[in-house]
C-alpha cells in the first residue's frame, strides 16, 4: 500500500494520474452525449477505425496520434453524413468501417520494416508511458470540450433530443452534429493512451450508466459521470499496480463493480421505501 503512494514522487506516475483525471472528465462529458443519443455503436466504429490511422502513421513514419485522429474524424463524419442522408443501412456501414480500420492497422503494422511497434500497447493502453505531448493534447481537448459544453449546452442537448424541432427553432443542427462527431473522434483518440482501443468505450459509457441510475438530466449526469469516472479509474490504477495487470482492464472491472454496487443499493433503498 505505501509502495503505491511512494509512486507519486515519480514523474511518470504523476503523468499517469493527470492523464487519467483529464481523460475521465473529457469522456464523462462526451460519453453523456453518446449514451443519450444512443450512438455507442457508432463510437465503437470510430474507435476501431482509428487503428488504421495508427498503422498508417507507423508505416509512413509520422505521429500515430495524428494518424488515429484523421481516421477517427473521417469515420465519425462519414457515419454522420450517411445517417442524415439516410441512403445506407447505418449499422452495416459502421461494421464495414470498424473492421476495415482494424484490417488496415494490422496490414500497415506488418508492412512496417524494422522495429515493429507494440500492438498490445494500443489495444490495451499503456498508461505508464504517458508523456508531455500526451498531456498537452489532453489539456487542450479538455479546455475545448469544457468551453463548448458550457457555451453551447442548450444547442447540444436540443439537437440530440429532437433535431427536427431544434432546426425549426433556428439551431444550426448540422453544424452541431458534425461538431460533436469531431469531438467524439478526438476524445476517443486521446483516451486510447490510457484505456486502449479495445476498452476505451467503457469509460464513455459505464460512468454515465452509473450516473443515470439516479440522475435524470444531462446537466446532472455530467458531474456525476465525471466523479464516477475519476473514482473508478484511480481505484483501477491502484488495483492494476497491486496485481500487476493492464490498467485499462482493471479500470473496466472496477467501474463495472461500482455500477453493480450502486444498482444494488438503489434496489435495497427502493424496497425499503415500499415497506414504509
Amino acid at each position: 500500500m505505501s509502495d503505491f503512494f511512494n509512486l507519486f514522487q515519480y514523474q511518470f506516475f504523476q503523468n499517469a494520474v493527470l492523464a487519467i483525471v483529464l481523460t475521465s472528465i473529457i469522456a464523462a462529458m462526451i460519453g453523456t452525449y453518446i449514451v443519450a443519443r444512443k450512438i455507442v455503436f457508432i463510437s465503437g466504429g470510430i474507435t476501431h477505425a482509428s487503428f488504421g490511422g495508427i498503422g498508417l502513421a507507423y508505416f509512413l513514419g509520422f505521429n500515430p496520434f495524428l494518424g488515429a485522429s484523421l481516421f477517427a474524424i473521417f469515420t465519425g463524419t462519414a457515419i454522420e453524413w450517411m445517417s442524415h442522408r439516410g441512403k445506407v443501412r447505418e449499422d452495416s456501414a459502421i461494421a464495414i468501417l470498424w473492421s476495415l480500420g482494424m484490417a488496415l492497422g494490422i496490414i500497415f503494422v506488418f508492412l512496417t520494416p524494422g522495429y515493429a511497434p507494440n500492438l498490445m500497447s494500443f489495444l490495451f493502453g499503456s498508461i505508464l508511458s504517458v508523456g508531455t505531448f500526451d498531456l498537452i493534447i489532453l489539456t487542450i481537448l479538455f479546455v475545448i470540450t469544457t468551453v463548448i459544453f458550457l457555451f453551447f449546452y442548450r444547442s447540444i442537448v436540443q439537437t440530440a433530443f429532437d433535431a427536427e424541432f431544434a432546426g425549426i427553432m433556428g439551431t444550426k443542427v448540422l453544424f452541431f452534429r458534425y461538431l460533436m462527431s469531431v469531438l467524439i473522434a478526438l476524445s476517443i483518440v486521446v483516451s486510447i493512451r490510457v484505456m486502449g482501443i479495445i476498452l476505451v468505450l467503457s469509460i464513455f459509457t459505464i460512468p454515465q450508466s452509473i450516473a443515470m441510475l439516479f440522475a435524470n438530466s444531462f446537466k446532472k449526469i455530467i458531474p456525476w459521470a465525471i466523479m464516477w469516472a475519476i473514482a473508478g479509474s484511480l481505484i483501477g490504477l491502484f488495483v492494476a499496480y497491486e496485481m500487476d495487470i493492464p490498467s485499462g482492464a482493471a479500470i473496466v472491472f472496477i467501474l463495472t463493480i461500482l455500477y453493480l454496487v450502486v444498482k444494488g443499493m438503489m434496489m435495497i433503498k427502493e424496497r425499503a421505501m415500499k415497506r414504509l
Partner: protein, 250 residues
C-alpha cells in the same frame, strides 16, 4: 372589413414539394386566416406531413411560395408523440424551454424572464408540478401536454399539430379538444389527422391532401366528396368522442 381579417396570415401559393425521389404534393394552395381551425386529412403518404414540413421551413418547395401577408408570424409545432425519444435524459422544463430562442446570438442561453415564462406555460397546461421530472416518467397524456406547452411557449399565431390523437388515451383526447377550442380564440390551428371522423366536430374547415390539396370550406364532409377530392380515407369514429359526419351538401 378589418384588414387583418381580410388578409390571410399564411398563404401557401401553388407549391410543389417533395423529396429527392420526386414531388409528393403538387400545385397546392391554401390561405390560412387568423381564426382558422383547419383539419388536414388524407391517406398516409398523401403529403400531409410534407405540407406541414414545408410550412415549418424544414423542406423548401420545388416551385411556388409560402407567404406571410401580414408579416412573419410565430409558429408552434406539436410533432407526433411517437417521434419523441422518451428515454432521453431531459426534464420537462428543458423540453419546454426548447420552444424559446435565446435573445442574444452571442450568449446562447435563456434569460430568467424566459425561464419563468416557460414555467407559467407549464402551469397553464397543468404540468408545473412535473417541471423537474424526466420525460420518461410521464404518461402519454402528460407527455402530450408537455409537448403542447413547448409548442405554445413562444405565443404562436399559428399552431400546427401532427396526429395529436394517436397513442393518447381517450379521456385525454376530449380534454385536448376542449383546450384547442380555447386556444383557437387566440391563434389559427392546423390539425393533421388520418382520421376525419374524430376531428370533424372540432375543426371549422377541412383540407384534403392526397397528392394535391382540395380545400373544403366546412367541417362536414361525406364519403362521396372524399372520392371527388381523390382522398381515399375511411370515415370512422371512435367511442365517446363527439363527432358528426353529415350528408352530402350541394
Amino acid at each position: 372589413m378589418n384588414k387583418t381579417l381580410e388578409n390571410p396570415i399564411l398563404r401557401i401559393k401553388d407549391i410543389t414539394v417533395g423529396y429527392q425521389e420526386g414531388p409528393v404534393l403538387r400545385n397546392a394552395s391554401l390561405d390560412v386566416f387568423q381564426n382558422d381551425f383547419i383539419g388536414i386529412i388524407g391517406p398516409n403518404g398523401g403529403g400531409k406531413t410534407t405540407l406541414v414540413k414545408t410550412v415549418l421551413g424544414i423542406l423548401s418547395p420545388f416551385s411556388g411560395v409560402i407567404e406571410y401577408p401580414q408579416g412573419k408570424i410565430t409558429t408552434g409545432y406539436l410533432p407526433q408523440i411517437t417521434m419523441i425519444d422518451k428515454t432521453f435524459p431531459i426534464t420537462v422544463r428543458e423540453v419546454v424551454e426548447a420552444g424559446l430562442k435565446p435573445k442574444s446570438r452571442w450568449w446562447p442561453h435563456l434569460s430568467k424572464d424566459q425561464k419563468s415564462h416557460a414555467c407559467a406555460v407549464l402551469e397553464e397546461n397543468g404540468m408545473l408540478n412535473f417541471a423537474n421530472r424526466p420525460i420518461g416518467e410521464l404518461s402519454g397524456g402528460q407527455l402530450q401536454r408537455v409537448m403542447l406547452s413547448r409548442a405554445l411557449v413562444n405565443n404562436p399565431k399559428l399552431l400546427i399539430l401532427d396526429e395529436p390523437n394517436t397513442y393518447v388515451d381517450k379521456a385525454y383526447e376530449g380534454e385536448l379538444y376542449d383546450r384547442l377550442k380555447e386556444l383557437n380564440k387566440k391563434m389559427a390551428i392546423l390539425l393533421v389527422s388520418h382520421d376525419v371522423g374524430t376531428i370533424s366536430a372540432m375543426v371549422k374547415t377541412i383540407a384534403c391532401v392526397s397528392g394535391e390539396l382540395h380545400y373544403h370550406p366546412s367541417n362536414k364532409i361525406s364519403a362521396e366528396q372524399l372520392k371527388v377530392y381523390n382522398c381515399p380515407i375511411e370515415l370512422i369514429t371512435h367511442g365517446s368522442v363527439p363527432h358528426r359526419v353529415l350528408k352530402v351538401h350541394e
